[in-house]
């Protein structure tokens, strides 16, 4: 039943480029998809492991830089770049997770902030590698190699939308499988009561490192999408604003739920775009800050849990992933 529903939603989403002619709307959807991947990745740490990473833009940026450097400087294909964009942030996530094995809460936040700060400063100052503030232009567009038929270009928006949808669906599935597995239960147990969880044999270090690595690699996937979509990577990818946006998406959508980050990403990508003509960018950011505070007061658990509490109960929901995946055309 759930599988059929998921496939139906996916098919509906996949049909969007067929009837949505406006390239600008498609662009907004693609950005919403990229942010869904990022918000899903942050949610693994913030929602399930209970550790706030305020350096998530670093994993995103590392993914973008890894594929940009691999394709532009080494001349690799974007698909080899994808491997780099998963492995490099994954390794960084492993390092952060290992360091974090003794620290929690505010210390973890500060560690991730500092990590992101160092990476960002390196991207600006290591001119020989990263071209400094000028960034790396000319990141190649994606193309799907077909044996014997040459390449199928994925440069145009409708084609890239498909790539984005595949990546977002994959991220969603990975999250869904992970949190419903032994790993997810272990993470929730650690979040709720670490001492108790360890007393029944859950290895805190092992699971927190695992969560950080998966989360970082998934953020790297977002970076890979971003790099090949905008085809330009600069130190801006490390902007703290990206991290803040991800946090708002997860918290507003509903941390610790599967659909929450996707709903948050769709809402907080569409909202600023809708406001763009009416107001300046500063007003938007000001509104972001205020909305974050309002959500904490009025929807402390986020939109998705609030909605599922409202909706008529057909069956007792297990609390995790009860709501259907969100439509991105919010």
């Amino acid at each position: 039943m759930r599988r059929a529903g998921g496939i139906a939603v996916l098919a509906a989403l996949a049909s969007v480029p067929l009837w949505l002619g406006n390239p600008y709307h498609l662009h907004v959807l693609i950005m919403a998809g990229i942010f869904s991947v990022l918000a899903l990745s942050l949610n693994l740490l913030l929602g399930y492991a209970g550790q706030l990473s305020l350096g998530h833009a670093a994993f995103f940026g590392l993914g973008a830089y890894a594929t940009a450097l691999g394709t532009v400087k080494l001349g690799w294909s974007p698909w080899a770049g994808l491997v780099l964009a998963l492995v490099v942030p994954g390794l960084a996530g492993w390092a952060v997770g290992r360091i974090a094995l003794r620290i929690r809460g505010a210390y973890f936040v500060l560690l991730t902030v500092s990590f992101a700060g160092v990476i960002s400063l390196i991207s600006v100052n290591w001119m020989e590698l990263t071209n400094g503030p000028l960034g790396i232009p000319g990141v190649p567009a994606l193309a799907l190699p077909l044996p014997g038929l040459g390449e199928w270009p994925l440069r145009r928006k409708p084609a890239f939308y498909g790539v984005m949808l595949a990546a977002a669906a994959l991220s969603y599935l990975v999250c869904a499988r992970l949190v419903r597995s032994r790993v997810g239960r272990a993470l929730v147990a650690l979040r709720e009561n670490e001492t108790l969880a360890e007393s029944v044999g859950i290895d805190a270090t092992h699971y927190l490192v695992l969560a950080t690595v998966v989360s970082a690699a998934m953020a790297g996937l977002g970076g890979w999408l971003y790099a090949h979509y905008t085809r330009f990577v600069s130190p801006e990818v490390f902007l703290f604003g990206y991290t803040v946006t991800m946090v708002i998406m997860v918290v507003a959508g509903g941390k610790g739920t599967l659909a929450g980050p996707v709903v948050g990403a769709a809402l907080f990508t569409a909202l600023p775009e809708a406001l763009r003509e009416a107001t300046s960018w500063q007003w938007q950011m000001l509104a972001y800050g205020v909305i974050l505070m309002l959500v904490l007061y009025f929807l402390p658990r986020g939109i998705v849990p609030a909605l599922s509490a409202w909706a008529p109960r057909r069956k007792p929901s297990p609390g995790v992933g009860g709501a259907p995946p969100a439509r991105e055309s919010a």
């Binding site: 209970g50 706030l52 360091i99 003794r102 620290i103 929690r104 809460g105 505010a106 210390y107 936040v109 500060l110 560690l111 902030v113 500092s114 990590f115 700060g117 160092v118 400063l121 390196i122 600006v124 100052n125 703290f240 803040v244 946090v247 918290v251 300046s280 500063q282 007003w283 950011m285 000001l286 972001y288 800050g289 205020v290 909305i291 974050l292 505070m293 904490l296 007061y297 402390p300």
Partner: protein, 290 residues
Amino acid sequence: MDQLLQHLLNGLLLGSTYALLGIGLTLVFGLMNVVNFAHGEFYTLGAYATFAALIGAHVPFFLAIALAIALGAAAGAVTDRVLLRPLRGESIDTTMLLMIGLWIAMQNAELLVWGGVAKSVPTPFPTAPLVLGPVSVAPLRVFVFVVAAALIAGAHLLLSRTRLGRAMRATFQDRETAALMGVRIERVHTITFAFGAGLAAAAGALLGPVFLLYPSMGDLASLKAFSVVILGGLGNFGGAALGGLVLGIAEELGAGYVSSGYRDAVGFAMIVLMLLVRPAGLFARAERVG
């Protein structure tokens, strides 16, 4: 050798304001258990308030600084009353996210009010440096150091010697008992947050004339404050004071001998190293971890 002395002196002068920033943050964390990510915004507020008082109202320089500190403290009191009070007793993550929201809102409000162009604060101090043997120093920076040191000493005395300070410590050790003993704990919360915000505003009012004012200046200040607090140990007053000096000197040495592009990386690197080696801080007395 002379160069080293000069770096050490600069580091000491800079470090005194870092200490001021760190103490405000560590008090709010240690006593209230609030991770104040908006700390840097009170710093920015202090700097712009000094500027506005000087340019807009033609107030004398020293009075402008005092006004800015008072405004910072008042803004802190309002923040506690309006934003933090309804969420008292919520988890530390909730208040942390709240402060992140406040930070974004305040910073962009400042950008809307003042615009993105950097501003400089005029001072009555001569620009010619004082030459003291092998080293030289700008008179303004001596003033900044003296005021920062006086504020740190004052904060220490307030906490350790006064009734209010005792009430503050009592409240955050055990709310219920303190309330039973007649401490008005809601008021203590507000005063503590106002105190931390006032110290941040003081740092901004003092450093504003040294550097330039721009709306995102608070981000760097927050970073320094967090580095200092990690160095000293979260919630450790003396640790924050010493941590500020250590960070100031380390930055000057790093900028002088390594590369000025990585000056701000010193703080980050110190946080990472400290969390690796001694998460409780340099001066920990085996308490308050995690």
